[in-house]
Symmetry: C2
Subunit: 417 residues, 2 copies
């Protein structure tokens, strides 16, 4: 684990998961800009549409950082609020296959999170802390042990003082909770954050958006640019309210369709069944959750579990590696070593696609009609590992430190990496 | 950069490149077992041929570790003696193409090494330090600023007190300097290390072998097993002489031939010339050095430099990514972020092969006749990144620390990671 240095010992600090964080000196807001590939920033900046982000980039700090593997929402959001990679906190995807029990385990609450979050640590040290997520699936994980406010835009109308530390969120924001498949789901998160900055003045806010827009629209699509404008305006409001800002993403986003617009998919479970027999292997697509309409549960990373002792892992590895569209197929010990993931939450083999290719289980497992005619855009692999890392304040960075997205709280609080 | 903790402050320590090392409490020997894929250890151990290594594994510490990218000899040897990855010390291969001057720069002396080595730091703090390499190409880099003994097996007969801190090496070892293409090149290094342990009693020895055997022989080949026996016997002698041992490798080794035994090669320069025109791109194979007979300058990692401003990097990236046998093609900023390599020593694009495939420049650039009928075995890519990491003493390891081959001195000196 990396350590933050240059701590000013005159100040109060909080130590979480081996890292030390300075007490916020002004309201500090970290935005997890879900699915914000650097190309979205580049396209909007070139079009002159994001003056607030541009201003942060020129007068604060801007770089690219590495997201955690697999490049999915849950492992990366949890990494950001814990300040450490998935092998420490254990969240490896939206769900995983428990080798001990043979059961699928959804990671939609705080149970699989086995490290403390810095949000909880700061709240228990007396800071006013707010966590707002787009989808409710993340709220319980990010709000684990949090003595503060934690709610989702998706279920804003259900927030209660007892469960969320706040009620009447719709009245606060001034509109109804948005549809879970909408650009407004993210904007509602930002608007709620702004309102709380005005009224509650939290020391630390964590605002986690949705990648609905990025799954549907390429960076230069008018709808994507319009969304960037809307986000940028809200970031400007937070800066005007005196907030210190950090922006990072959980993962990038890649087009996974061919010239005709058809999705480029390797159905790995079907291939394995044909080669080794049915029910020998289980293919887990850890992007799967109850909300798959915008990506059909297809991404650039899947796990293979070998279900019977008669199947030879070396044969399966060789077979999978020979499939066009597969970049890497790694046994469990190697994927753990390379990507800091948790051994007990991995399969026997991790498979990572080449750029522009999606990996699926069986053809029957994925409902492509839900894509409703748009090109498949998704994430999960190495290709979507590079994300923006932008703060409103200058940060003293060590040029040989490999910048990770989960360094963002260290950067905005400590002003040094 | 990772930091070593658990330093006993009662002891003298040496701090190099941000890491602190305890003064050796017994003669400490680190062996860089060139090209020792974990499969060589596994095969020899299963055959019961390496009792000393097996004993270290059971009573000391044994794990797998990650080598540095690209998985070549020079970047990894320099990383091991510096305790840090290539972005700190700058050595990116056996040679590189200088973008500023347009010239190829060989990395066979100490000029490209821009970080201090811990060998030099310990020697200047008063320790008796010895560095012995197989090939002389590495000796100058590893012996940089070293106030001690540094020579190569290859040029053992030329060692002088003035240049190497020792003379009459052949007399010391009791035989002539071996052929540079021989298993004995490595054994001579070990035998010289043993003789110096007996006579000179160095505090720290670094013994860097050659991968001649591994390039020619698969792990279960009799010649490979015989070599493992010879190495293991010499390690046993060192242990009997009271040495504390650490064993690590610079890279693994992969078979890159098809079922018929023909090498599987993507000639990238030829492909690029056909697609974009001659002289638009320069393909650099950083495995190339004056000693290529055993691998034909073919490995799993090459760099592409774009030579004219009219060539579009996005088109080249898309073209290269679509070639079967290519796992990843990454622009410079992404390869630096992902693999801790030095920006000014990278090309415009780094290309990494899939397992079992070699990347070359043009067909005319590689003399396959030198392979003399053996299957192509080589390294350079992600596939050869996992290496053994074994010490003769127990090491207190943090289970969430990503073990790197350049942690080996920290492990043997500090007994903790």
């Amino acid at each position: 684990m990396s350590e933050c240095n240059n701590i000013n010992n005159d100040k109060k600090t909080v130590r979480v998961n081996g890292r030390e964080y300075r007490w916020p000196v002004q309201p500090t807001v970290v935005v997890c800009f879900d699915g914000c590939d650097p190309e979205y920033i580049d396209a909007a900046s070139k079009a002159g549409l994001i003056p607030n982000i541009d201003s942060m980039r020129s007068s604060g700090f801007a770089s690219k950082a590495l997201a955690c593997m697999p490049t999915f929402t849950n492992p990366n959001n949890v990494s950001i609020v814990c300040g450490v990679p998935p092998n420490v906190h254990g969240v490896s995807g939206n769900f995983y296959f428990d080798r001990e029990t043979g059961k699928d385990v959804m990671m939609v609450d705080s149970t699989p999170v086995r490290a403390p979050t810095l949000l909880a640590a700061f709240s228990r040290a007396g800071a006013k802390v707010v966590a707002i997520t787009a989808k409710d699936k993340l709220r319980k994980a990010l709000g684990k042990d949090l003595d503060g406010i934690a709610f989702s835009a998706e279920k804003a109308n259900e927030a209660t003082q007892a469960e969320n530390g706040i009620s009447n969120v719709e009245a606060l924001v001034g509109r109804h909770a948005p549809d879970q498949y909408s650009a407004d789901l993210s904007l509602f998160v930002l608007d709620a954050g702004i309102k709380l900055l005005e009224t509650h003045r939290p020391d630390i806010s964590y605002l986690s958006l949705s990648d609905y827009v990025q799954h549907k629209h390429a960076p230069d699509d008018p709808a994507a640019l319009e969304f960037m404008v809307a986000v940028d305006q809200r970031l400007g409001k937070m800066l005007a309210l005196g907030a210190r800002l950090g922006i990072v993403a959980d993962h990038g986003m890649s087009d996974m369709a061919d010239a005709e617009g058809n999705p480029r998919i390797v159905y790995l479970a079907d291939r394995l069944s044909a080669a080794f027999g049915a029910d020998k292997c289980r293919v887990i697509c850890p992007i799967t959750d109850p909300f798959v309409r915008h990506h059909g549960a297809l991404g650039g990373f899947v796990r293979i579990h070998l279900l019977t002792p008669d199947i030879d892992i070396h044969e399966v590895l060789a077979f999978v590696r020979a499939i066009p569209g597969v970049a890497l197929a790694l046994p469990r010990d190697e994927v753990c070593l390379k990507f800091d993931v948790a051994d007990d939450r991995e399969g026997d083999i991790a498979v990572i696609a080449t750029k522009g290719v999606a990996l699926g289980a069986g053809k029957a497992d994925h409902d492509l009609s839900q894509l409703s005619g748009t090109r498949l855009r998704s994430h999960g692999g190495l290709t979507e590992q590079v994300v923006p890392f932008i703060t409103s304040i200058p940060v003293k960075a060590n040029p040989t430190h490999r910048l990770r997205n989960f360094d963002i709280f260290c950067a905005v609080l400590n002003e040094a990496l």
